[in-house]
Every structure is written in C-alpha cells, then in structure tokens.
C-alpha cells in the first residue's frame, strides 16, 4: 500500500458527534475530503441545517439528524439512522462536548445534566 493509500478514506463511513460547527465541522470536512461518507449529529437542528451550507470537500456529507446527545441514555435510534443510510460505521469521532466555568465552591452537590 502506498503512503497516499494509507491516508485514503474512500468508502469508509464516519460518524461525528457535535459535527455541525467548530472543531467537529472542521473534522467532518477533513474526513469527507479524504473520501469518507460522513454523518454528523448535533443537539440543535438549526445548526445542522446551517452546516449544510458550509464549504465541503470532495466527499459528501451524509445523514444529518437531530440528536440530543446530552441525554446520555444509549440511544440506538441514532446509530440505526446511520446504518440505514450507510450500512455500517468505520470511524467514530466522539467530539460533542460542553464546558462551563464555575468555582468549586459554587458547584451544587447534584450538578446539572451537562
């Protein structure tokens, strides 16, 4: 296998959480450009729609689906949707994340859902 082939992602399926903006969108576009079929998830459907208008590589963005990842129950529906569209998943990018500044003494004993 040539070095170029080692980096080629043609035919691979990638699922990226939080892929509608920021670092997730950057990574989605990179994997798409290298040939992967890319599914992204986001908590906000309007941002999924916006990301469709973003510049894309030679690959194409695939199934985009509203998904509240903050609900941590394992949700087979999200994976079902990707499998229905692409048949399998080869690459999983666990990107979705959140931050918040709070001093330790002000954090409640039962923190919120983030």
């Amino acid at each position: 296998m040539s070095t170029k082939q080692l980096f080629d992602l043609t035919g691979k399926v990638a699922l990226i959480t939080g892929g509608s903006r920021g670092l997730g969108l950057q990574m989605a576009e990179a994997l798409g450009e290298m040939g992967a079929r890319v599914a992204i998830t986001a908590r906000k459907t309007d941002e999924l729609k916006d990301s469709r208008g973003a510049p894309q590589g030679q690959g194409h963005r695939g199934d985009e689906r509203h998904q509240r990842l903050v609900e941590v129950r394992p949700d087979p529906g999200m994976v079902d949707a990707v499998l229905a569209k692409f048949g399998t998943i080869d690459i999983l990018v666990n990107n979705a994340g959140a931050t918040g500044a709070r001093r330790p003494r002000t954090i409640p004993t039962r923190p919120g859902t983030r």
Partner: protein, 142 residues
Amino acid sequence: MNLNINAMFYLSREVGKRCFIPQKSGKIINIASVAGLSGSPQGMYTIAYNTSKGAAVNFTRTLASEWGRYNINVNAICPGFFPSKMSRGLLDQIGDHIVAVTPLARLGGNEDLMGTVVFLASEASRHITGQTIAVDGGACIA
C-alpha cells in the same frame, strides 16, 4: 460530565457492539482537551471540564487495551485553545495570555485538526492505539 464522558462511553459501546466488533475493525477518535492533561491556568475555573477530559484520556487508554483484540484503534486528540462558540467567553478574558505562553504563539485555526483526525481515522495509524495527541501549538509542554 454526562456529555463529555458518559456519552462518549455509551456511544462507543453502541457502535463497537453493533459495527466494530462484528467487522473486526474500527477507529474511535475521542476529542479530549489539553484541559484533560493538567489543572487550569490562573483565572480559569473549569474543574468539571478538566475532570471530564482527564477521564476521556484514560477512557481512551483503557478502551484501547480492551478492544485491541478486535482490531479497533482508540486514540484521543487533545486540542488546545481554538476560537469557537464554546471557548469564546474564556478567550475574551485570557486569549492574549494563552498566545503569550504558547511556543508557536498562536491559537488553533480552522485547518489545524484536519491532518490529525485524518491520520487517526486512516490505515496510516493502524499500529497506534491508546495514544493522546495534543494539538495546541505546544502550550501543554511549555
């Protein structure tokens, strides 16, 4: 914590169980953070975030050691400071300081994760698992 580490576990398990283990191949790339490699700079109060990202780093190592037998690579990327909606408030406050203490004297840009994610997603990294790559302009080693 729920999103940054619990969701990472649940989704990795789901995709591993349904796709990667049956097909005996797969690539998992966890986006942690340089905040998962140390405490926080003065003026930054993100103990929950740092805790969750530290968990993501060791989750990566442990899952890599357990799922290596299925030919599944599990690696982590630790981005430094990239301007984004999530980091905006913090960068407004301490962005200048971050650049000043970063060896490459810059924040992350909108192409700076591309090479790393393609590398870890591809066959080029087939013999690498359980590793953490900081993409931070050198900030975490300075």
